[in-house]
């Protein structure tokens, strides 16, 4: 246990020192949120909430995928090899890395939700069945759900990172991030999509991921459909991560 915790602490520190992470995972989603909500008065209060949750989700997905970039880098530099000549087991290393992913998504979520509260004037209800007005709790509930919902994306990033070179991982993560963000309606509301694209969006993990947050922000329980689709993607990305690790992770 101490092995995993110390490793987690070390990797979180290393991630926070990465300017790319701070910029892409925290600053850009926050700036995009402020831009999108303040330029052109589009939509009403509903889109304000949806765009806040959408950008928080976008930042969380970026940070989650970024964990995979770190793994690819560690394979290339020989750090994973060096870890294999310490008493740490491969399982501890993988668990520690996955936990790192789930810690490093938090800054993005917190930054965008805070911006929503301070600059965007988004007030949230307290969650399911509780009267509106106590927004800090509502925000915490949204943050918690976004945090839990980011796990599939960490696994997708790890799958890329264990399989590909650092350069290829960077490209794959960026494509996954942009593609899933746009398709899932994190940037623009799905309502603006043509019909066929809208039905496709319903199956993307990102759309369902944001749906979790939006539902809670509206004071509703998340729909079962959202949980089911996200659960399916969790299984798919989890298997992908395991297969990638089996292929190259064990031999580094």
């Amino acid at each position: 246990m101490r092995n995993v915790l110390d490793y987690l602490r070390l990797e979180v520190r290393r991630t926070l020192r990465d300017p790319g992470f701070v910029l892409g995972g925290v600053a850009i989603p926050m700036l995009m949120y402020l831009l999108f909500t303040h330029i052109g008065e589009q939509g009403g209060g509903a889109w304000r909430i949806a765009s806040m949750v959408g950008m928080a989700a976008y930042g969380a997905v970026g940070s989650a995928l970024n964990t995979g970039g770190g793994v690819a880098e560690d394979r290339a530099t020989g750090w994973l090899r060096q870890l294999r000549v310490t008493p740490m087991t491969p399982r501890q290393v993988v668990v520690g890395r996955t936990l790192t992913g789930s810690v490093t998504v938090l800054p993005a979520i917190v930054a965008v939700l805070a911006a929503g509260g301070l600059a965007g004037g988004v007030r949230l209800t307290a969650g399911v069945g509780v009267p509106p007005g106590r927004s800090p709790w509502g925000r915490a509930a949204v943050a918690l759900l976004l945090w839990l919902g980011s796990v599939p994306f960490t696994l997708l990033g790890l799958g890329n990172g264990y399989r590909l070179t650092p350069q290829a991982t960077g490209v794959a993560n960026m494509l996954c991030n942009l593609g899933l963000a746009v398709l899932g309606g994190l940037w623009f509301p799905v309502a603006l999509f043509p019909g066929w694209l809208r039905s496709l969006a319903a199956y993307t993990p990102t759309h369902r991921f944001a749906e979790l947050g939006v539902a809670v922000a509206d004071g509703r329980a998340p729909a079962w459909g959202a949980v089911a689709v996200l659960g399916l993607w969790l299984a798919v990305f989890g298997s992908y991560a395991v297969l990638s690790y089996r292929r190259t992770g064990r031999t580094v």
Binding site: D6, R14, A76, T77, G78, R81, Q82, V85, T86, P87
Partner: protein, 319 residues
């Protein structure tokens, strides 16, 4: 190679084989290192190995042997044991510290963080400060590893290997990128570990280092052990000597045909012949009066090494 109280040796490879694609990197390697012994694994550097084999990637197999004995790779055949058990068990127990080759600095971590982290994985580690001190890492314990010079980085790698105070230190090309003063500090630190009863196995392609700092030299070539003994034993085993003399006009013709000659080098009007029989080699040209400033020397460790690792390759003549 004495075994204390019948304890299993620190390192034992028996008929180990490892093939990557078409390349037999390790081809039936036998190696035993007793506890407390300091052994050098000596072989040609990989690049030279490439060139010699006409471009086919044949190294001596040192690094592959290292990754087998650390449990980073499984042998295709043969047995690999550390302290009488599978390598992984010794590594998990924190009995092994290693300095790996071909690692780049870990990005975005300070020297102290890195060394303390590795130390903390081991049951009875050195403090980070003590691990860093014999490695001679100067002020930059708070500096980031990826901003160090090559020499400083190599010292940090050594500190990482030392951090757990392991029973067995495995060092792949430990003095690469170190300047002369840093090398001396490094070897002094290593002698200190050896005095504390630690076992040391290091890879090198520097003969002088192997000769000066190891109890025993194991010469590997093309994945097998071709010689095993002290530097003196290796020199004696090769025998012969080196005959050198100034050439008269046009006297460089046919030197390789002289009796006993194994290799010829001509540079600046002076010939240097490596020979199995110095007496016979000297006589023929002397009779023709074709030599001046004759010198006969016993084979050096260099000559021994070349003779051991290249039975079928003659070094090129240089004019």
């Amino acid at each position: 190679m004495t075994q204390r109280n019948g304890e299993p040796p620190a390192v034992s490879l028996t008929g180990a084989e490892k093939t990557f694609g078409d390349v037999r990197a390790v081809a039936g390697l036998d190696l035993t290192v007793a506890r407390g012994e300091t052994v050098a694994l000596l072989g040609l550097p990989r690049t030279l190995g490439f060139a010699r084999a006409g471009g086919t990637p044949i190294g001596a197999g040192k690094s592959t042997a290292i990754s087998l004995l650390l449990g980073l790779n499984e042998p295709d055949a043969g047995r690999v044991e550390l302290f009488g058990g599978p390598p992984r068990r010794a590594v998990r127990a924190g009995r092994v510290g290693a300095m790996l080759q071909e690692t780049r600095p870990v990005p975005r971590v300070t020297v102290r963080e890195l060394v303390a982290f590795v130390a903390g994985r081991h049951p009875a580690p050195l403090t980070a400060a003590r691990a860093l001190e014999p490695a001679g890492v100067p002020e930059p314990a708070g500096r980031r590893v990826d901003r160090l010079s090559g020499g400083q980085l190599q010292r940090v790698r050594f500190a990482v290997a030392l951090a757990g105070d392991p029973d067995l230190l495995v060092l792949d090309e430990p003095t690469a990128a170190l300047d002369v003063a840093a090398r001396q500090e490094f070897w002094a630190a290593l002698r200190g570990r050896a005095r504390h009863g630690r076992t040391v196995l290091f890879c090198t392609h520097h003969l002088e280092e192997a000769d000066a700092h190891a109890d025993r030299i194991v010469v590997v070539d093309r994945g097998r052990v071709v010689a095993d003994g002290t530097g003196e034993e290796l020199r004696r085993r090769v025998g012969g000597g080196v005959v050198s003399f100034d050439l008269a006009e046009g006297g460089g013709e046919g030197l390789e045909l002289l009796p006993g000659v194994r290799a010829v080098e001509v540079r600046g009007g002076r010939a240097r012949l490596r020979t199995d029989d110095s007496d016979a080699t000297v006589l023929a040209p002397a009779e023709r009066g074709a030599i001046r400033r004759l010198e006969v020397a016993p084979a050096s460790l260099d000559d021994a090494f070349l003779a051991l690792t290249s039975p079928d390759v003659r070094p090129l003549e240089t004019v």
